[in-house]
Symmetry: D2
Subunit: 379 residues, 4 copies
């Protein structure tokens, strides 16, 4: 089958690889019809992780079931399914409590937790930027879609990662109806956080970025765009909130946060959040931060450390939740919103391309080229 | 009246000051019978804050009501009351939601939140290490005690601060029955956190310190003492938890955390918590951290910054809650436990002394002299 | 001043009564500019309660502050305020935990809890269907509005009762984004419950009534109207939810529930809810039920008893929350939604009338005359 | 193998039946070493349910794994396991959200939810009062025990049902440290509710029953026994709580509640709870109620209806949660408490008997013979 293979830093190509297949009786085999390029893929694409050469990318996947193992009971051949990016067992201590993003079974390293398709350090599972994908524990790891699955697949494929991830940021921040919310980062995840805050009835949604195309999309869903290359985002938020700060905040940028000049400052968005969220406020951080970043220029950043305004964070009595989203926790509800016509997350999509154009798409997306907001590949 | 007055760094004396009195019709005047010295007092005593010379210390107070303003309806002369250290209005946005520790009305600086008796930067309210204390909004800010109030006042006075503060750490950490919990700091607040975790049915309680007297007290309530001058506390906790880390963690040390040699490392306990708490774990931080610490040696610490293992914190999907305890949120319940004989927080008390001995007591407590765990002054 | 006075069953008139005035230093005096007639007023109007002849109705009030007591600190003369219908002290055990609807201080009967303006059995407080209203503990019991207060007062006056009451139903039912929700009763409160569910991102909102005007309003906000004089509402809901039942349910009718023929069945909506909500579902009941109803025909109903399908309720593992809304818990957030243009609850208003037309309005509203959905009186 | 077989009302015998065996690759086969008789078994034993003649009883099971299917990954032959009474799939909408007691997959009737071993209307699964038990989806449905499993099996077997069921009552009632709690029923489940409330730090625990042996056990764990054949339990509770009622309540009796004369009143404990729990209080009901009870004398009871004081329930603003416990939600935590020596639920055990004595034990237990509190069978 054809698949998007990592050859080394900033080098991917579409190659023939062995077909994915049923390996365990609980597996499901899916013919991928939509698979997104994610911001997390770029960390790996840029060579900032331990992702292995020759491995296949792709953790935002949707498609049609073409085979099921002998012990699969719920999922049937022919079902259209969205596939949460977390690979999870369903019966470990973390899965039982709903933390499928920290599954203890599917992650082979006993010092770690959590597994994903085509993802550095998250187990041996191949990615879905390919014609076929093997889904372990298929009854647990597939979300069945309704009859509108093909027609709305640009919406449903967002259930694999960015919609629930943005939603998770708002859950950890405890966004409530009427709240003012500030979101750092208007990439696809940040836009999904803004969209989720709106679904939950937030009163005022502010979003910080500096890419005109992203800010425009944010504005199109009713958020207040803040261009941090032009204004101080902290001051802007304080002005919008009678000097008190936003009720809640979301971090959707991650460790490669950089100033308008392009210089990386791991702690930049974190410290801005502490300053622009009110006393007693809550913050949800879904932007990726990593324990070791050998490719960073800064020595502290190499060790995964941030020079954090902890004194102010404590003094303001803030709470912060972190980490990868447990997609299954939210996915049924978000699917039902799409099915009922109440959510249409595909508004972030800028390109739908055949699989063969993946190398080109990676390059543009990595450059943050204007207008390349979100790419769906169609194998 | 006599009161404990701050003269400058490491210098307090008991002096005659003008009597506290009813100033507003909603005030209550309390004749103090028990008032504790708190670890927070030491930050001020050491001159590490902006606490004004000539001002009175004391925010852990209990006594008998001797006068009430004309608009006080609930509290009566003769009532024995414990007085939460937070001075709060009851009707601002934060008080309404239960965050009396971040009251917007009683704090005069509109950029800050929260007020307290005899506390740096927390409003003009005099402390209670004195014969009399004025309590604003007395109906809201006094907790009535029962008939056993005098007999058990060494227990009830802990309701003013350290018992609810330790409890708040376990609330922010979401300690549940059966959980393993690690607590950094076995000072009075850390001991109260351990005690609260035990009340809540925690399965295994580990506590890190290096003072033999404190660790002994911890052991007396069933906690596992960890002496970090002898063993690596992170390794110890991992060994006790099958390598996974504790389910929950509490920080009860604060920004003056220091290694066994005495050198301060603001981030020491924070980073140890991140390492010794499991993936998906929750951490409650009640040790005091401050936005500016001009007296610190380290330049980052002077700015209230910590070199925080944020990469690992995020990677492990942990959540952290912070800040001063909203005492009223817990105080009725904790009072009822004392009244019913189910809690006896006075086990931390080492000394009950007349007010005149305050200068001596401050000196010993500040030195962490062996056996000086917790002092109650009896004006 | 002029006020709407109760003369006896189905008999009110606008009379001159002594002016409301400041009685306590913590009082606020409000010149009423908008005051609604509520469904609860009808229970009293019909003589089904112990409401005293000669007393003034009105618990949904908004107006301008014209005087404040000497101890009022926050509220100023000239402020426009919405006044939650609960009269509460702010410092009793229930108020402290946010249950201002069950205040122990303002309710004179020690066996009861909760107080309200112009309401049977809820304390001696006069109602606001008058030119002036005295508000006890004004700092706690007034919600300040912004500069748009006069312009949007038809929206803001809904903050006094029906908007937070409808919202409370959805809170007790734990309505989450994507949920299917069934609401019994499309009166003003039921419509506000539907509106609140929509604000919270519910996926499918179904509402049961038999008045065409109400169902039309429900449809106008995107709810699915179910006319129970034409179809079986339980079957309808099951059909809409793949036979499983709605995720959540709200009761917005109360003890005078009656079938299309007009016969009262206290338990009718309750049993229908149990049947039309799924296993594990949650139900919020804000329709009024009372411990004694001497005016009921049915002997059990006279004793406040319902023949409840408890076996099925338990078997389905459902949870039910009940009671009057603690308005303050939600009011700031809902105010901010109105201020930001994200909520416009005045869509339920059918009539805005001078105070003098109150007798006429009561008659039409009590008859459920077509088109008389919600009346605002303008003194 | 030998098993306890139901022959008809009040008639069981130990017979040879076909050996349980691995039927699906995800099955686990357990050699039962401890299996309890439960109060729920008595409903079936008495012929009040549709339980089939010839079927095997037993849903409180513990034993050693003797065989595993080819797709079982976590559980190994030789493991000692406690087996939650709920049979659940782990991947349906209810299981995913933690409601394994309402599994949609393992219950064959699409109008119902939830499955159990040897239980009327809860699927075709054989019971464990036998030498062997087949456990479907074994990785999900077995709880592994530690090295002390054999030694403490009288404690661990309580994890199958009554300990988590009693705990669930306190969870639904939201029992918090310091709360006063009233529990109706001091059978094994009621005692476990009292024990759970104590683990959670409840301040005052009151328990209502009329069997001297049960009340004595209750007293032995610090609860206040209330003999309702001698005093009015509602008055007693009000007296103990300053006339306000208990903060929280638990129902652990069920539909066969009867007065001291033996006459059944389905609603008796429910109405007493409403009266003896305070305004705003919460109630958890784990006693079994059923939608149809053809064997009842009362016509309403036959239809699963209760004459419920709904007016008072609503008026007091109470919340009630209901239903069978999702055992897995609590089981790891409770296991850890037993393992750490902090819980010893075997204090309820009165008899440990060989399987052959089951008929005799059923008879005594059904008679509530003095001293027959809880029986463990040892096949």
């Amino acid at each position: 089958m054809k698949a998007v293979v990592y050859n080394g830093p900033r080098d991917v190509s579409v190659k023939d690889v062995p077909d994915a297949k049923i390996e365990e009786p609980t597996d499901v085999l899916v013919k991928i019809t939509s698979t997104n390029i994610c911001g997390s893929d770029l960390h790996m694409y840029e060579g900032r992780t331990s992702f292995e050469k020759g491995r296949v990318f792709g953790h935002e996947n949707l498609g049609e079931v073409v085979a099921v193992g002998s012990d699969v009971d719920k999922i049937k051949v022919g079902d259209m399914v969205a596939i949460p990016f977390n690979v999870a067992c369903g019966y470990c201590k973390n899965c039982e409590r709903g933390f499928t993003s920290y599954c203890l079974t599917m992650q082979p390293d006993p010092k770690l937790a959590g597994a994903a398709y085509g993802f550095a350090d998250m187990g041996p599972y191949q990615g879905g930027q390919a014609e076929l994908l093997r889904v372990p524990y298929g009854d647990f790891n597939c979300l069945r879609l309704g009859e509108d699955a093909r027609e709305k697949q640009s919406d449903y494929v967002m259930l694999a990662d960015i919609f629930p991830t943005g939603y998770h940021a708002t859950e950890m921040a405890d966004v409530q109806p009427g709240d003012s919310v500030v979101i750092y980062g208007a990439g696809p995840v940040g836009l999904m956080a803004a969209y989720s805050a709106d679904i939950k009835g937030a009163g005022k949604i502010m979003i910080v970025d500096r890419h005109a195309d992203r800010l425009k999309l944010a504005e199109s869903i009713g958020a207040i765009p803040i261009d941090d290359s032009k204004v101080d985002p902290v001051e802007f938020v304080l002005n919008e909130t009678m000097g008190l700060g936003a009720d809640k905040g979301c971090e959707c940028v991650g460790y490669q946060a950089h100033d308008p000049s392009g210089e990386e400052h791991t702690e930049m968005t974190l410290n801005n959040l502490v300053k622009s969220v009110r006393f007693t406020g809550r913050i949800g951080t879904v932007g990726v931060f990593i324990p070791k970043d050998p490719g960073a220029k800064d020595e502290l950043a190499q060790q995964g450390k941030a020079v954090f305004d902890f004194g102010l964070f404590w003094f303001k009595g803030q709470t912060m939740g972190n980490g990868q989203a447990p997609v299954k926790r939210y996915d049924r509800q978000l699917r039902d919103l799409i099915a009922g016509g109440k959510a249409k997350p595909s508004f972030v999509v800028s390109h739908e391309l055949p699989l063969d154009e993946a190398p080109n798409a990676y390059q543009h997306f990595d450059n943050r080229d204007d207008g390349w907001t979100k790419v769906i590949l169609k194998p």
